[in-house]
């Protein structure tokens, strides 16, 4: 087929789909090719009309707000990273002051802050203590273990906030994901972590996705979207943790117990969907799970898949 005709067809497709011209207007411009063009353009119109699906305006608005807030957050962090030398000195000074304060204080305040939740008066003491702890933790595996501990704390905080029916700040959910991702990144980068650390990582990510799945079920629609995004991220983290464990087992030439968790795969699982699903692997009619809210499924043991 001549290259000229490809150009003419493309020009007509642009005119019809982008500029709103009619088929007839286009055919008038290319009378010699009209017979060949017309059926293709009719098919194009059918295609274009059938592909017109629009996002829900309310979702588009909420996603826009979330994206722009993420842009601002990133920008803010970038500014923090580019602090001049004197600012670093100030940071050291702040860290040392906090250490001194911690030493001077009888421990009562710090102990009280340990159980505080986001929004409590003492919560900033808790997070500052954690930052100081991170500052003085050396070695990749030790750092990874600290990230795991901090992610576990965020899980406990989210659950406690939900139990008390208090609002759950996006920053706590995000911090939980970030701490987990950092632990995984360190494990991926190093490759010589102990079996215990990797096992902790698998347990953490497993616990995290279970908690997030429960949260998706029990929170309001607006908050659900936030949890669904966190859940997707947690599931990715879980898969990575399992891969890390398998890699370690292979390196040590050990057999993985058959009952151990495996990377998520829908094909190997029994899915419970609301009512009877039209198709899919091993159909089971069951009680509504969070599948109604975004493609996730509850398995009989309570785990979640997509």
């Amino acid at each position: 087929m001549s290259r000229d005709f490809n150009d003419i067809l493309d020009a007509c497709l642009d005119r019809i789909t982008q500029r709103g011209d009619s088929i007839e207007q286009c055919l008038e411009s290319y009378p010699d090719q009209a017979d060949e063009l017309e059926p293709l353009l009719r098919a194009a119109i059918f295609m274009k009309e059938a592909s017109t699906v629009e996002p829900r305006p309310e979702f588009q608005r909420m996603a826009r707000a979330r994206l722009l807030s993420a842009v601002a957050e990133k920008k803010e962090k970038e500014r923090g990273r580019r602090l001049p030398f004197w600012s670093w000195q100030r940071r050291w000074a702040v860290a040392l002051s906090v250490v001194l304060a911690l030493v001077i204080m009888s421990g009562g305040t710090v102990a009280a802050a340990t159980n505080s939740l986001p929004g409590d008066l003492l919560y900033p003491v808790k997070t500052t203590t954690e930052r100081v702890q991170a500052f003085f933790t050396f070695g990749k595996e030790a750092k990874a273990n600290l990230h795991i501990t901090l992610a576990e704390r965020r899980i406990a905080e989210i659950e406690a906030l939900a139990d008390r029916e208090r609002s759950i700040p996006a920053s706590v959910i995000n911090t939980m994901n970030v701490e987990t991702d950092r632990a995984i990144a360190l494990a991926n980068h190093d490759g010589s972590f102990s079996t215990e650390t990797i096992a902790k990582l698998v347990r953490l990510t497993d616990e995290q996705r279970m908690m997030l799945a429960r949260m998706v079920e029990r929170t309001s629609l607006e908050v659900q979207l936030r949890f669904r995004l966190a859940l997707r991220r947690a599931m990715e983290a879980y898969n990575q943790a399992v891969v890390l464990r398998e890699r370690l087992h292979n390196m040590q030439n050990m057999e993985i117990e058959p009952s151990s968790n495996k990377p998520l795969s829908v094909e190997n699982e029994i899915l419970i969907k609301p009512g009877c699903p039209p198709s899919g692997p091993k159909k089971v009619c069951g009680t509504p799970g969070i599948s109604m809210l975004g493609g996730y499924y509850n398995s009989p043991d309570g785990r979640v898949f997509f």
Binding site: A50, S51, V53, E54, R64, L67, L68, V71, L229, G294
Partner: protein, 180 residues
């Protein structure tokens, strides 16, 4: 006319005006492109949002080499859908979810619209992989030939030829099914 190089620089530097413009211009297009491939609203919404968040994550390493910013964004979307399909094989054969069609229209019309979408998806499914990629980006994504060529990594001439052969196949299929 927008200066694409200046715009790309704004995206790279995480300028909030540039990101708002990127979102407003491409969110519906990315959504449509993803929706006709994953065939249900919840996944399409999730994945579309993920595309923009992933773009934001990787924006500092983004280098403008003369291609429209859309090409970069659609490459991320394309990879996102491929990863999703890899992880979610069970949904490949599910019928189109009617929720894809606007809530504002009557249920009967919605059923008709979703059956049209299903027809198109099935017709497009009979094309070669290269033809399908071009048609999805051109029709669902609303990309130009230049942008499509950048996303699929082919010359504009090759993309036009693929578009032509794909349209001929689609015409035959749709005519056979009594749609034309």
């Amino acid at each position: 006319m927008r200066d694409e190089e200046v715009f790309a620089e704004g995206i790279k530097k995480r300028n909030s005006d540039a990101w708002a413009e990127l979102y407003d211009e491409y969110f519906p297009k990315i959504y449509r492109y993803i929706a006709v491939r994953v065939q249900n609203r919840a996944d399409a919404e999730d994945l579309t949002e993920q595309v923009f968040l992933k773009a934001l994550e990787s924006s500092p390493s983004f280098r403008w080499r003369g291609a429209p910013v859309a090409a970069w964004l659609f490459r991320i979307a394309r990879n996102q859908v491929i990863d999703f399909r890899r992880m979610d094989k069970s949904k490949r054969m599910l019928p189109v979810d009617e929720s894809l069609v606007s809530d504002a229209i009557e249920p009967e019309e919605a059923a008709g619209r979703s059956s049209d979408i299903q027809l198109v998806i099935e017709a497009v499914g009979q094309l070669t992989q290269a033809q399908r990629a071009v048609i999805e980006l051109r029709f669902a994504g609303g990309l130009s030939i230049v942008e499509t060529a950048k996303v699929v990594g082919k010359s504009q001439g090759a993309v036009k030829a693929l578009q032509h052969s794909a349209m001929s196949e689609l015409r035959k299929t749709l005519a056979k099914w009594g749609q034309l």
